[in-house]
Amino acid sequence: MEEHKDDVGSKIGMWIFLLSEVILFGGLFILCTAYRYKFRGDFHLAAMELNRILGTLNTVILLTSSLTMALSIASIRKDSRASSFGYLAATVFLGLLFLGNKYIEWSAKVGHGIYPNSPDLLGRSSGEVLFFGLYYAMTGLHGLHVLVGVGLLSVMCFFVVKGRIKKTDFILLENSGLYWHLVDIIWIFLFPLFYLMT
């Protein structure tokens, strides 16, 4: 029996899913911007407390992981499975590095008594409570996406080794790459929103 394959169709399906992700995060962006407008002073104070160096480092890490992801697909197109695997493994490593940084950053915040519903935070003004609530919710949801991406790309590593992803059939890798780049794009907007606009 002949197997039915439609790569363009499957890519369109992926893009529609990614569009729904944009709308999901877009809603949160609107919420954040609306509250920033309402509590400008509090948001300014709270944003000053975020670690801009760690935020910038994580931006560089994610941008680099997008490069290795793109290079992994370029390699499989050239039928070079070993380098495709290498770039993919590097992408997974960079994703884990991002999450490690996020862990350090969140731990420092929790160590200072800033976490949702903490007595310390509840003693502050309502704008600051909102800022940190949105900070945890949005970077948390994004971090969850990175975690899912790391899992997905690990499975793709396995598929590349097994030869299920190959020069003539790499749509799974292509679509996983699209997902990974979208997670990167979301961070491109989260970074200025929380770390830079003070």
Partner: protein, 96 residues
């Protein structure tokens, strides 16, 4: 299966150039944030983020090389949708 191979793709060199561009834009947006530009700073930060995301969409996500109606429309439709949402929310907040 030939379908996906027929689609053109960027070269490795292009990817590296795009990556360097993204890092440079990150440097610019961080240094601009160090200056006190007030409301203009928000505009600059969002513009740079927009340019960066376009680079990722067009090159890393290959939209520049895709053919077909759907792929040409996906970004404009997404942007339009978000502008509509944001515009409606902000007219509500501003004229309340």
């Amino acid at each position: 299966m030939e379908q996906s191979n027929r689609i053109q793709s960027a070269t490795r060199r292009t990817y590296v150039i795009v990556w360097v561009g993204l890092l440079m834009l990150t440097g610019v947006t961080v240094s601009v944030a160090g200056m006190d530009l007030g409301q203009l700073g928000v505009l600059v930060a969002l513009t740079i983020a927009g340019v960066k995301s376009c680079l990722v969409f067009l090159y890393f996500m290959h939209l520049r090389y895709e053919r077909g109606f759907f792929f040409k429309l996906i970004i404009p439709v997404t942007v339009l949708l978000l502008v509509l949402f944001i515009g409606m929310v902000f007219t509500d907040i501003a004229f309340r």
